[in-house]
Symmetry: C3
Subunit: 351 residues, 3 copies
């Protein structure tokens, strides 16, 4: 039985297989409209995320299945003090697959270790949100036909943007993908990301745009700037307008995780290169493909996944990690490729 | 592709066709119980209206379809600052038809102009609520067999009652319909309504009741009276009791939009002329007929509806209009039959 | 047409029949997965109870039916001041069966007297919660094969625990069932329960455990103790650990209504005698059996159930009774086997 906690839980081959399934679902919807007829998806949301929830629920309906919407588990007085392990077991009695959102990093992994059904991480704090990344991947795959050799521009807040970091991780597994990071100096890609990946940096969207096959826009929030004047001076440089887009390749695609506020001008919507509403649709199709894959896997293999780990007294001190609130959880870690001991739940360094 | 924003978007012929479809659904439910099997209705509610939501959701289930319940869009932090146009486009990716409730007048029209699927207005502020009116129409049609020549009594708060105003607009399109408006002088029908329609007025329910084919009761709220003593003196005159009803015709029907508080005595419920619980049921059937009609239309015609309008600097200053909160919306108007420039969203006069 | 307000509304024969249906549903799920295809369950919750709601909704989905989730009726501004009778009639227009939760005792009975569809009480204040008891019964029946002659240990808070009281009432209808009540002296079974049933009492879980066929654990809340030191001294005695369980029979089953906090150590979960997660699953199957039974009954018999009662001026003064908030409800009673006049809604003594 498989659960999906991080995009990187999937091999390159599996991601392409998911993309192909999604494309077939788009092409031949009738073939799939009843394949989950007797199945139940629980959307177990410990914090609101309406779009993500709706995307999963629409996906399940498109497959003919049922949805158990659970948005009040966190405030349920009955559940106060109940462990994530117990909650996962209870929900397993009510559903065939769980899509889970939680404010704490690693929460979905704890659920996956205890549930009797597959768990899809629908966001665990700032940690992972694999179905957003898969939606982005499908959009690129659907529009460009491949990942290899693409030049991908990432524009906006690259310091805090989880979406962008995940996409870099996922795309860097392909040959010859080049990243151009376009941001004000305050919001540059974190240095640990720059170590790991080969990225170019620039502060100018206008200069970078002609080189791009993909332009991924994100929002710049005023709160991120220490200096309000700096924000006012800079903000318009990172707004995509028809003028700026006129310098792009004719087959460059424009993406955005939505909601947008002003970072893409409404006048761009009519441009055939604008793909952000298609991205929403692709998110639904990719979730359909993923639900179908995991339910099929689960029918063949009932065993729960195990992640090897060590518990020897080292502690995770990340206040956003699930171990900080679930008192009975053991602190566990594994070593990464550089030998750093990383928390099995949130991937932060142990002390 | 059709959307329904106002009852008057439908012709007299279309309303009778909807009524006939609804009556057939009542008579032969099995014929319709799977016609929306693979369709998704999104109930997009920006303010709570539990009964309206449930009526739409029950309607979709009776047709075999799926329901995406969206009651948290307004508070969703992700959506803050997102335009209605973008929200409509996102929801179009998740559903085949949208029933939308919003506190601002004209909001459903903005959604209809941007969505890729049909939109049904489930209430836009105090502006329109066409499915309530259609439920009332079906009740009259089902009980009386026709609209022409009916004498319709409207009792209670006729000043603020949107339900009553819409019903007058809708019924006045038929031959020989006579309205008797029964209310305290404080709560008379607004004068602009009296100009347009031929109505009689009285303060006495007891005197009016023998003439009526239809008695439409509404609630009188104490807050509407400047003078509490006046309210206390008057309130019982507008309560329907078995005694007052004994003076009505044997085939007069009693209606109420519900919930009632005390304006119809519980003892009236047993009277075969009491139709207010049937009205609830009819509301569901009329919504079934409407969902079916719009989904069928949408399959044949994918183009979005366009309302011709002028934008020349005139402004809508109605603080309840959607333009007061959606900053990127252009102020637009059309001229009514008297030549008055009316806002395309909320129908109020431009300045 | 049947409604279920109290477990005791069902005969011993009917409960066994329900258990047999549930076991058949577990064994041959495909046989039942579409028997409610065109039916709608409304979960009408006037107070949150996420688990109970999810169990009903999952049950309906397993039968192929639709669910109308109504968790906002109480706060719906439109419904303020509407009587329970009217609300029940409105919901009858939208659904084929209602599962209702309400904070006031007797509320589900009022709904059942007015609805046109069967009503299942999903908890009415501290009064009844029949589907929890039925889930407990199925668990015992499934694991032990019978009820007669069992020795049942009840451990924890026996003073306030509604679950435990209901289970004693239900099991005492079988031959030779023996109850051993294990609690601190502050939280003993109420004296009126001890009068009616033959129970043994002890303060020691360790001493009682070897005699038990069933051990039903409940939570002990600190708030119940006047004296904090007393709580600290006692709490660990009522925590089930592998050590304590090692003294139990090899076929003793351990139950808990969940959520647990610390009253059963996580190490017990692996023991094959631990049945509390199976209880969750059984709750779903028992609700499936009950929904199926009531819908089948309702198809054959459309008449509403009537409970004979007397209204002669005697009053119910229980502040938790539905008559304390529904002003139009008549005070009604019936005499119990001892001749005491008991409120028809909440079973408390009239004055």
């Amino acid at each position: 039985m498989r659960s999906i906690i991080d995009t990187l839980d999937l091999t390159v081959g599996e991601i392409e297989e998911l993309c192909d399934t999604a494309l077939d679902m788009i092409k031949r919807p009738k073939l799939y409209s009843h394949i989950c007829d007797d199945k139940i998806l629980a959307t177990l949301f410990f914090e609101p995320s309406t779009r993500t929830r709706l995307s999963f629920e629409a996906a399940m309906y498109e497959l003919g299945g049922h949805v158990l919407s659970v948005t009040d588990m966190a405030t349920s007085s009955a559940s106060k003090g109940e462990s994530m392990a117990d909650t996962s077991k209870v929900l397993s009695a009510y559903s065939d697959i769980i899509a889970m959102r939680h404010p704490k990093e690693g929460a979905a992994f704890v659920a996956a270790e205890n549930a009797n059904v597959p768990v899809i991480n629908a966001g665990d704090g700032g940690h992972c949100h694999p179905t957003q990344t898969l939606a982005d991947m499908l959009t690129i795959y659907r529009e460009k036909g491949h990942f290899d050799g693409l030049t991908v521009g990432l524009c906006g807040d690259l310091l805090y943007g989880r979406t962008v970091h995940s996409l870099i991780h996922a795309l860097s597994r392909y040959e010859g993908v080049k990243f151009i990071c376009i941001s004000p100096s305050e919001l540059r890609l974190p240095s640990y990301m720059k170590q790991d990946f080969n990225v170019e940096e620039t502060t100018s969207l206008e200069e970078a745009i002609p080189m791009l096959d993909v332009l991924y826009m994100t929002r710049i929030q005023q709160e991120r700037f220490a200096d309000r004047q700096n924000y006012e001076r800079l903000k318009d440089s990172y707004v995509l307008t028809p003028e700026k887009l006129s310098r792009a390749k004719s087959d460059c695609i424009v993406m955005h995780p939505l909601p947008r506020v002003k970072e893409i001008s409404v006048a761009v919507d009519k441009d055939p290169r604008a793909c952000y509403f298609k991205q929403v649709e692709n998110g639904k199709y990719m979730r359909m493909a993923l639900i179908y894959k995991l339910l099929t896997d689960a029918e063949e293999d009932h065993s729960r996944e195990v992640r090897p780990s060590v518990s020897d007294g080292k502690k995770c001190v990340n206040p956003r990690c699930i171990v900080s609130v679930e008192q009975e959880l053991p602190h566990r870690y594994k070593k990464d490729s550089r030998g750093v001991c990383r928390c099995i739940y949130c991937d932060s360094e142990m002390v």
